[in-house]
Symmetry: C2
Subunit: 356 residues, 2 copies
């Protein structure tokens, strides 16, 4: 039982897919949005808060947890599920993207990456083997190959290097990955060069991963390009494997991503916007700080069933933001995640033909 | 029914008292600790969090809410209970203490106080009538007379002035207070001059308030003096009226305050300490940030039933603090309030002779 992993596509509509991911920590209906618990916590929220929003999987970051408190520390206290007290599924990113964004404080060689810790300035090194080991220490259900990510814009030469290193490192991650209670996903690179994305996808699919991520996007290109290259990349991936588009989480982006056949997304935006006073609603974004809310007794969204909307007015939330009370960010984060999970569930219902 | 107010002393042990305060928003077993919701929110916590800690009354601050968002705004959206979504009892302080602490940005005359708003620099004025009106707009169950508070040390002359103004202003608050759904408490001043405290208490008791607060303490004197003058002041107050010692909330202080016959306390310390990484435990204070906690799987306190202790290890909480995650402050605030409410309930059980 604890080692059961599966991914089944139950229904399709155009290229959209509705499926179920099963991990030792339960079932995840896809498409699924993963709130981001970068440092082992979705900012301001408890596991109970997350479950109340309809969340069944979160994305944590092995790189950040490797720096602090140390993946060995997390392993010693029983792994990341136990540490966070989160009983459902977890995915960890390997750190490829974070190290990419550390430039110029990092040096890449064929074997791995040497970098300066942004926490304490120590010189550290990650290799495919070490990144895999760190993720095995954490014990997330889904773990990611250690990839080499590109910026936007990037030269063809740099994109070719990214594909070559990512393929070589993916093979080493695959060899290093021995845990039976986790599944490894490959990450397709290739920037905005379609032939390179084809090459990257073909090489990774040849290694038969549990699933595949679309990497190297949401790094500065415009949304049309993100959508175009994400859709192109998913067209290269096997139908029966789970697909994860990294760094996507605005409702408008999730809509095209699901239409492109993506199953998993993660993004800090809904919680970050919540902390900064922007609420997601069916009528668009609401700036909770603005004066029209001063004595507005309505909830953030009429009819919303989240804790925040059941209990608090816009007037109160506006006051909390202006008074600098972090409770405001907590409450709007709850609403935004609830909104987004319901939005994704609505997309899923359309795919399977349920009335929503 | 909605106008039922009472305070009954059920049991005494020495000078300690166990009673029940009844307001239109329910029963409060005394002695009772009131977490502080200065700006209409106990920092980081929801009403549900507070109820889970065993809290049945909170203390908010009319002065802060007068400055922002405006007590008129709160009135317009249905009053403070509705605004905060807190269905149980509320006490508001009048602002006397806050204005006192604004010096030198304030000028006191016999009629009231003119001061510079710390929020936006506006010149504002509060009088006993306006402070009462502001508290009636908020609609808390218990409201406080507008007093003149002294610092420590203070001259006899200044303390005499404080007593005289506080008495005169209390009479004006009493006359201005017309709401039938609230009860007004007087505040005894007199600094560390016993004859002045006697005079202040006698004058206020002569006006027959619903209850009496011990003011002008916790303003810089040492704890022995606070305890001495608090006990002296309570000895001057009628047995059948509720007594409130302002600004007290450390377990060690609550112990002597209860022994001195105090029924209500409020203090920001348990939540402030929680946010800063200090947990209250039966073995004393625990600095959650310290390295012995790095891989300590124990909860903050063994056997504690709070959400934080049921779900999270010291190792996790330490990590959250070092990582700058405000969830840490939220979780330790929950624990500290739970600890303190249980501590106070234990003192009460001893007074009524229950086995705890």
């Amino acid at each position: 039982m604890p080692h059961v992993f599966s991914f089944e596509v139950d229904a399709c509509r155009g290229r959209s897919r509705a499926g179920v991911l099963t991990t030792p920590h339960g079932a995840v209906k896809t498409p699924a949005f993963m709130p981001v618990a970068t440092q082992g916590a979705v900012k301001l929220l408890t596991p109970d808060d997350l479950e109340d929003t309809g969340t069944s999987i979160v994305a944590a970051n092995a790189f950040h947890l490797y720096l602090r408190p140390g993946t060995d520390v997390v392993a010693r206290v029983g792994g990341l599920h136990q540490f966070m007290s989160w009983p459902r599924s977890i995915l960890t990113d390997s750190g490829g993207f974070q190290i990419h964004s550390l430039a110029p404080l990092r040096e890449v060689d064929d074997d791995g990456v040497t970098f300066r810790s942004p926490v304490d300035g120590r010189t550290l090194r990650l290799t495919p083997e070490l990144a895999t080991r760190a993720q095995e220490d954490l014990g997330a259900d889904l773990i990611m190959a250690f990839d080499y990510c590109t910026s936007y814009p990037t030269s063809r030469e740099e994109a070719e290097k990214a594909v070559a290193l990512t393929t070589a490192w993916a093979a080493r991650c695959r060899a290093a990955h021995t845990s039976k209670t986790q599944r490894l996903l490959g990450i397709v690179q290739g920037a905005v060069f379609k032939d390179l994305r084809e090459r990257s996808a073909a090489e990774l699919v040849g290694m038969d991963f549990f699933g595949y991520a679309v990497g190297g996007l949401s790094v500065g290109e415009d949304t049309e390009q993100t959508a175009e290259y994400a859709a192109f990349t998913t067209s290269l991936l096997p139908q029966n494997k789970i697909r994860y588009l990294m760094g996507i989480g605005r409702p408008e982006d999730i809509a095209w991503a699901v239409a492109a056949g993506v199953d998993l997304f993660d993004c800090v935006v809904p919680t970050r916007e919540g902390r900064h006073g922007t609420a997601l609603t069916g009528q668009g974004r609401l700036n909770v700080r603005l004066s029209p809310q001063t004595s507005d007794e309505r909830p953030l969204e009429e009819g919303c069933g989240c804790y925040t909307c059941r209990r608090f007015s816009r007037a109160y939330l506006r006051h909390l933001f202006l008074a600098g009370e972090h409770l405001a960010g907590r409450l709007v984060s709850v609403h935004n995640l609830h909104y987004l999970q319901k939005f994704v569930a609505g997309l899923r219902a359309k795919i399977v033909g349920e009335n929503n």
